[in-house]
């Protein structure tokens, strides 16, 4: 450790205002503060002298740790779905995981390279420290898109969201929309054929030549995709090998879908981590769950075949598709959700409600969670405004009472 510290100390002058590598000082500072806690101490006046050990780096790291179960499961499931598609009957665990790892690795590398590249550049330009927010965004993006999305699209979408959804507003902490969802929405509206339909949710290629071959032209719809196009009175959802998918399969997550969103079990593990560390707001999670299940019950009571998703069991509504993932990891983003406690209840409830409404009554688009969260991101400041207004009115009312006392 000491030698590492000495190395950094020796390198520091080169990155200083007059140093040769000043153009990279934000990168150096990023690495330096990552490795060693800064020695900066509190000013002596009009400031607290002690500080809580919690900082932005740890906050973001905890979110990443909470995402890991979903990420690992996504790798396994990607392999599993590929093996199914290839018609294999034996599922070697490590091969499946390795296949999934190789499939997702290029996407993760691309999002981090593009996103962090832009962040470094902006930090340098603004003379700020590098902000950690993208560490989470960069991992979220690969997890909420189909695994076979072309890399150049991922790069374009990441660049778009980092620049236009975040940096133009001022960077982490100032953005209105969740950058990961903006990236996904950008992909969805720009390249719909690559982002929806029957052909994209199962990896059919052989990354780095690994894994069994899958026949050309293979298709398999996600469960929600099958439901949206269903015309019969009874819903039947089948997997790649045509076996019926049970609620248990859905809960575990061994179904086709976006890379990291399929497993409710892993999402719940992530939720437990976020709630235990109090990084996610329990108010949003609870109210979004109530909102979505409540709405699902309501529409299930009026089920008809015009809108096949209305026939879905309310609990399945929660476990299928990206809703659970969106509630735990997207709606709880503290920057883009409501910031007042009352606002959080309203925000979460509407996220759940709108997600189910979009998914059910818009047959063209079988998953509504992304749009619901983005829509509520736009409304969050308005909700907060009303909550704050109520506080202001209370104060003004008190002032009037005090005034009438005197007269």
């Amino acid at each position: 450790m000491k030698s590492l510290k000495r190395l950094l100390d020796r390198a520091r002058p080169a990155f200083g205002p007059k140093g040769r590598f000043h153009a990279f000082h934000s990168i150096f500072e990023g690495i330096d503060t990552f490795l060693f806690t800064p020695r900066d101490t509190a000013p002596g006046h009009l400031s607290t002298h002690i500080h809580d050990a919690m900082d932005s780096k740890r906050t973001m790291t905890i979110v990443i740790v909470a995402l890991l179960p979903c990420l690992l499961f996504g790798m396994y499931n990607t392999g599993y779905q590929h093996w199914l598609a290839a018609g294999e009957t034996i599922f070697p665990f490590w091969s499946l995981l390795w296949y999934g790892f190789l499939s997702i690795l290029p996407t993760i590398v691309v999002t981090y390279a593009v996103g962090l590249g832009i962040e470094f550049f902006v930090a340098q330009y603004r003379h700020e420290e590098i902000q950690e927010g993208f560490l989470v965004t960069g991992l979220l993006i690969p997890m909420i898109i189909p695994v076979s999305t072309p890399l150049w699209m991922v790069a374009v979408a990441t660049a778009f969201s980092v620049i236009f959804a975040k940096e133009v507003f001022g960077g982490t902490g100032y953005n209105i929309f969740n950058p990961a969802l903006v990236a996904r929405a950008f992909l969805f509206f720009s390249y719909p054929s690559q982002m929806s339909g029957d052909a994209v949710f199962v990896a059919t290629n052989q990354p780095f030549g690994f894994g069994p071959a899958v026949a050309d032209g293979f298709t398999c719809a996600t469960p929600l995709g099958q439901i949206a196009t269903s015309t019969s009175d009874t819903l039947s959802v089948v997997g790649i090998d045509s076996h019926a998918i049970s609620s248990w399969d859905v809960f575990i997550g061994l179904i086709p879908g976006s890379f990291g969103e399929t497993s409710c079990l892993c999402i719940l593990i992530g939720a437990a981590i976020l709630l235990f560390t109090r990084i996610a707001s329990w108010r949003i999670i609870l109210s979004a769950t109530i909102g979505s299940v409540g709405t699902a019950y309501l529409i299930h009571a009026f089920a008809n075949t015009t809108y096949p998703a209305t026939m879905l069991n309310p609990i399945d509504q929660l476990t299928l598709g990206g809703l659970a993932f969106a509630i735990i990891f997207m709606a709880t983003d503290p920057v883009t959700s409501c910031r007042t406690n009352t606002g959080k209840w309203i925000f979460g409830f509407l996220v759940g409600t709108i997600a189910i409404i979009i998914r059910t009554f818009n047959n063209g688009y079988p998953e509504g969670a992304m749009l619901a969260v983005l829509l509520m991101n736009a409304f969050a400041p308005l909700i907060d405004y009303c909550v704050v207004r109520a506080n202001i009115n209370r104060r003004q009312h008190r002032l009037k009472l005090a005034g009438s006392d005197k007269s």
Binding site: T37, P38, I50, A53, G173, P334, I392
Partner: protein
């Protein structure tokens, strides 16, 4: 009256006072720092070599000349220190240890409000009273709606003393005096009747709950909030007692009891000494000597002032905390630590689950960021105030928004705990102080 504060947090730090061991220390010199009294624009009345008595004016306010800061000892002026642009930093007075006192002329009956206010202002004790809004020194022209007095300090490592019947008598005298100044109520907040018996003439308020329950701003907000256009006086029972003493004895009581606390103090203890006592006298031989840097704070670790061994005890003259500075340690990836000795209210640090006392140093432990996590201020600011929105309005210098969001009800110290716990490391106290000064400059 009883109030119960729910939101807040008691930080458990190492170095609290365990037994009530008291030592008396006579300082060789004392100092008065005008900057301790925010809003007081100092003009110095003495020069080096002048002899002074207890109660002799040292400074007066530029705008309100009868508002004075007075000498706590008798002796001789040995230093008048000025800083940039000749701003007065401090006046140091050598203590001749005789405590010869200037006699204050106290009228026998308290009818003439103006002359009472003048006595209070000239004694130097009015400067020990804070005025809300703006959290500045009180002035004779304030005409306060109510007067709020707190008998306890809930901040980390602070010591809350019990008062005896003699104290109560003096305080009752001061309360009686205050009734001539305000037509409103005089509220005295205490932990319990054992800590401070009932004082005739005052409304006693029993306060339960964690820090910042002892902050007067929190008590005001939960008893009778300040509205725009109203003035409130806020003081401690120590000041109240000193006013009572002055009324009874026609001279100043400049003795004070200081809690010497913190992890770098050998034995945390109470010290009876004089207002403004020199640190060299107070701390000599009482601190841990090792090679690491330390930070000496006059006051508590949340709102105090950093001083050094050459410095002096600063207002409110009741507390000294000594903690490690921390600028001489290298911690590898401290943000990823699972050490139980890390102080945090976050459950991601295991320290929360051990019944352990923390020993934090003065490091900020992270870079400054935009506000990311929400609800933090609300969790530790037990007032009906949208703290985060008030901070945002303050940062954008929007006076209308600040008024609407309750800037008149807050003081920097009310945001100290939030600043300490914030993961974005925002300087809330400085933001509030700056915006209070800004509004005051615009409106007064």
């Amino acid at each position: 009256m009883k109030i119960s504060i729910k939101r807040g947090r008691d930080l458990t730090l190492r170095g609290a006072i365990i037994d009530n061991k008291v030592e008396s220390i006579t300082p060789r010199h004392v100092a008065i720092y005008p900057e301790d009294f925010h809003g007081f624009i100092a003009k110095v009345d003495v020069k080096v070599g002048d002899p002074v008595n207890v109660g002799t004016p040292i400074f007066h306010d530029k705008n309100v000349p009868e508002l004075q800061l007075t000498s706590p000892v008798s002796g001789e002026i040995i230093e008048v220190e000025r800083g940039e642009r000749r701003r007065l930093i401090k006046v140091v007075i050598a203590n001749d240890n005789k405590y010869t006192s200037d006699k204050t002329a106290i009228p026998d009956n308290y009818n003439d409000k103006d002359s009472l206010l003048k006595i209070l202002a000239q004694s130097g004790l009015m400067a020990h009273i804070h005025r809300r809004p703006y959290d500045v020194v009180a002035r004779p022209s304030d005409n306060p709606r109510d007067i709020f007095i707190t008998a306890f300090d809930s901040s980390p490592l602070a010591y809350t003393s019990n008062y005896d019947t003699e104290d109560v008598e003096l305080m009752a005298r001061a309360v009686n005096f205050f009734h001539n100044i305000t037509t409103g109520n005089i509220y005295i907040s205490r932990r319990s009747a054992e800590q401070l018996p009932d004082i005739p003439g005052a409304e006693m308020v029993d306060v339960k709950g964690p820090h910042p329950a002892g902050n007067i701003g929190i008590q005001i907000a939960n008893i009778a909030p300040i509205n725009k256009g109203e003035n409130i006086w806020a003081l401690s029972t120590d000041t109240l007692r000193r006013i009572g003493y002055m009324l009874a004895n026609k001279q100043l009581d400049t003795k004070t009891t200081v809690a010497l606390t913190g992890s770098r103090v050998k034995t945390p203890m109470l010290i009876k000494t004089i207002i403004g006592a020199s640190m060299a006298d107070l701390l000599n031989g009482r601190l841990d000597e090792d090679n690491h840097h330390r930070r000496i704070i006059s006051g508590n670790v949340l709102t105090g002032v950093k001083i050094d061994m050459e410095g002096h005890l600063r207002f409110p003259y009741t507390h000294v905390s000594v903690i490690p500075e921390g600028d001489d340690v290298d911690e590898f990836m401290g943000w990823a630590s699972f050490s139980p000795s890390k102080m945090s209210v976050s459950p991601s640090y295991p320290g929360k689950f051990f019944k352990k006392l923390f020993n934090p140093d003065a490091r900020i432990l992270g870079g400054r960021r935009a506000m990311i996590m929400s609800g933090l201020i609300d969790n530790v600011l037990p007032m009906d105030i949208m703290g985060e929105y008030l901070i945002k309005a303050a940062k954008s210098h929007d006076i209308d928004a600040m008024e609407q969001l309750g800037i008149y009800e807050v003081a920097p110290e009310d945001f100290a705990l939030a600043e300490c716990l914030d993961s974005s490391k925002m300087p809330y106290q400085a933001i509030i102080r700056e915006s209070l000064d800004y509004i005051r400059g615009e409106l007064e």
